[in-house]
Amino acid sequence: MNRSELITRGLVLGAALSAIALPLAFWWRVPLVHARMAEAGGWNPAVMRATVGEPLHLRLTSDDVVHGFAVGHLDTPAVDVLPGKVSEVTLVFDEPGTYTYYCTRWCGLNHWRMRGTIEVQGDQPATVAINPPLYVSLGIDLDADRGAQALPAAKPVADAAEAALEAAPDRYRSVEYYRSHSPASVWQDLRAEAAFQDLDDQEVWGLTARLWRSNASPAVLAEGRELFAQNCAACHGEQGAGDGVFADNLAASTSQAAEHSPDQAASMIQKPASLADSSRMLAASPALLHGKILRGGMGTGMPSWGPLLTDSQVWSLVAHLYSFQFEYR
């Protein structure tokens, strides 16, 4: 073999190997977090590791549709994860523990399944919250059927009972009382109060609404409204009527699955609950709603929000849910 042939073969082989090896090397050295719709696998990787105080720099990309990335119980703002583009975010953890990251964009029917975890190691062992949620302390059965026996004739207006509020005994105005009682039971109690015998039923509902509003500042309601729009409206609907953009798809998915497994149909994804249903909502205490949001619907398709939202955010969300029943003017 002559020299020029040898050199040529070297050149060809070098070019071919470079064309294969260089992309492989770059790909290996620049790891990406891939987001896919839950049906296609969700996040990859689904488990990451970090150390307290050390920045965790992530490069995220979507393999299909627009997703968002946020970490529960962390203040870092959510970032959009766009198809074919790379977004970057740097996370710093102050506490060790297991954090849940999740998709913040309504990417599909199983959007809420797009979750992963970040195991954060630190010098101190992870502390575990020992305070059980309020619904546990109160022994509330989240799944029991409920319905208010008395209902208002029209949507109660909170401002209508400003003067009466002053006459209500102090116990009605404590946060503990608010959180542990349903509006219907409070209405029953108020209705029995001698001080309010002059009020008609609707006015007592107005007083109940006023009590509820006194536990929700405008800032809390604004936060709750925003959280609802971001996380709940796609299923429950903008006005809470259970008619969000995914509601029909969820119902169709349930009936389709039920055809294959009739025995398990009852425990499958169901049509989202209507939060505008007075009978259901007026019979629900804030502690009950708080518990449902924290825990989720256990097989109904309602996800568990405990790992994502702080306690304060959940209470804000609960406060907003009652605005579907009460007019907070």
């Binding site: 073999m1 071919a16 064309a19 294969i20 492989l24 990406l32 490069r59 790379v86």
Partner: protein
């Protein structure tokens, strides 16, 4: 009529004969091809941002159908990297002279398959899966790798470039439409070839390899199977090979009587319509059927497409032609007259590709900036959003292209009809109908 002879310029001819410039292009193309496969395998699976999809199906396709084929015929084949590794392995050399004794005995391509039916089948196979191929980088990468492996395998078993000549899904239509190109490689003097001892242009010599495309240049009258590889230019001891400019469509005045090439015309014309309907049309049900590969809707789509391309279009053409002699005579008449569809087919593909390319060209800069989807921004264009480019010229250009196609096809039909002593009007009307359908689909 003999056009301008480019190889009359000694410097240009020497450039074409030199191996190093061609080798440099080959290395670049092969490197790019392998990189494209890697980008398809490793890059972002979102088609619109993946280098493999954007570069192959937008940039390469634009260059191929809008410039390379209409102007240079098989110009792409001259630089295509797919057959190179197999050919180098077959020869046992990259740059060196042809080995006087081949390292292994290679088979001749089976006689029954010495036609373009397999190429038409391969094209149809890719076309029917094109919704996945055009949008899924992994599929594109696998197909590109499969083509490379197929070319290598065939080179190890069969003589010369059997893959290019008989199997390449792209080579079939490039060959068909290369007859319309204003460039040709031909001999200068038949008598010189007849007297030439050893026929080194076909059999090879110390100066170069025998025609990789299994063509004897001395008998070549059409561009169809000439890959413009320049080997005959190197090997001809009599300097009897010329590359000339010529009138568009010069080969079509002597149409082929081959049925495989005739059907290729219908398949290509029909495929342009199907692509226009599926990729550019407003019919959601059709798109769904084409995209949901493996479903009953897709199988129905496949049956309809095959029926349209293989039966409806040629059947209608046969009806338009009317009866002629016995079956053999009719087949020959059918094949010769169908040559008139070649210009229209080419312009239909140009019209379709203009829509496709101008609407998607903006993806090219972004994918060049970040070819592996790793968040790079080499050209500062990675975050450019999609926007159509110069789509204002689409409707007039497409209309012009199709009208030109009908006129061009009409003139070919007139020549062929005169030779066959029949009227050209039915064929011209058929072409006009096809152009109108295409125009309706595009506009």
């Amino acid at each position: 009529m003999k056009g301008i002879e480019f190889t009359a310029n000694p410097s240009f001819k020497a450039f074409l004969k030199a191996r190093l410039p061609q080798l440099a292009v080959f290395i670049l193309m092969l490197g790019g091809y392998l990189f494209t496969i890697m980008a398809g395998l490793l890059g972002n699976p979102v088609g619109s941002t993946n280098f493999a999809i954007v570069f192959v199906w937008i940039a390469w396709w634009a260059v191929l159908i809008l410039a390379a084929v209409p102007l240079f015929g098989r110009g792409w084949c001259a630089v295509c990297p797919i057959p190179l590794p197999g050919e180098w392995l077959q020869r046992g050399a990259v740059l060196g002279p042809a080995s006087p004794r081949p390292t292994r005995r290679l088979l001749r391509w089976p006689r029954a398959l010495r036609n373009i039916w397999l190429q038409t089948g391969a094209f149809l196979l890719l076309a029917l899966f094109s919704t996945a191929l055009l949008t899924t980088p992994l599929v594109t990468a696998i197909i590109l790798a499969a083509l490379l492996l197929a070319a290598i395998t065939l080179s190890m078993v069969f003589e010369r470039r059997s893959f290019c000549r008989y199997l390449c899904p792209v080579g079939g239509f490039i060959g068909l439409y290369s007859q319309a190109a204003p460039i040709e490689l031909r001999i200068k003097d038949k008598a010189v070839c007849a007297a030439c001892v050893g026929k080194p242009c076909y059999n090879g010599s110390a100066s170069g390899y025998g025609c990789p495309w299994d063509v004897f240049p001395g008998g070549m009258t059409r561009n169809t199977h000439c890959g413009l590889c320049m080997e005959c230019l190197r090997t001809c001891p009599h300097e009897n090979i010329a590359i000339r400019g010529r009138a568009f469509g010069a080969d079509l005045s002597q149409p082929s009587a081959r049925l495989d090439e005739a059907f290729k015309s219908f398949v290509m014309l029909g495929a342009a319509m199907v692509y226009a309907a599926v990729l550019l049309g407003p019919w959601g049900t059709l798109k769904d059927a084409a995209y949901r590969i493996g479903t009953s809707g897709w199988f129905l789509y496949v049956m309809l497409v095959l029926a349209l391309l293989g039966a409806v279009l040629p059947g209608l053409f046969a009806l338009v032609l009317g009866p002629r002699g016995n079956a053999r005579q009719f087949r020959q008449h059918f094949a010769r007259m169908s040559g008139a569809l070649i210009p229209l087919g080419l312009t239909a593909w140009i019209a379709f590709s203009l829509s496709f390319v101008l609407n998607n060209a903006s993806y090219i800069a972004a994918s060049l900036s970040d070819p592996l989807g790793l968040g790079w921004d080499w050209l500062g264009a990675a975050h450019l959003s999609w926007q159509p480019v110069m789509t204002g010229i689409l409707a007039p250009t497409q209309t012009l292209a199709l009208v030109a196609g009908v006129i061009w096809s009409g003139s070919i039909a007139k020549t062929s009809a005169a030779e066959a002593r029949v009227s050209s009007v039915p064929v011209v009307l058929y072409c006009a109908l096809m152009a109108l359908i295409m125009l309706w689909l595009l506009l």
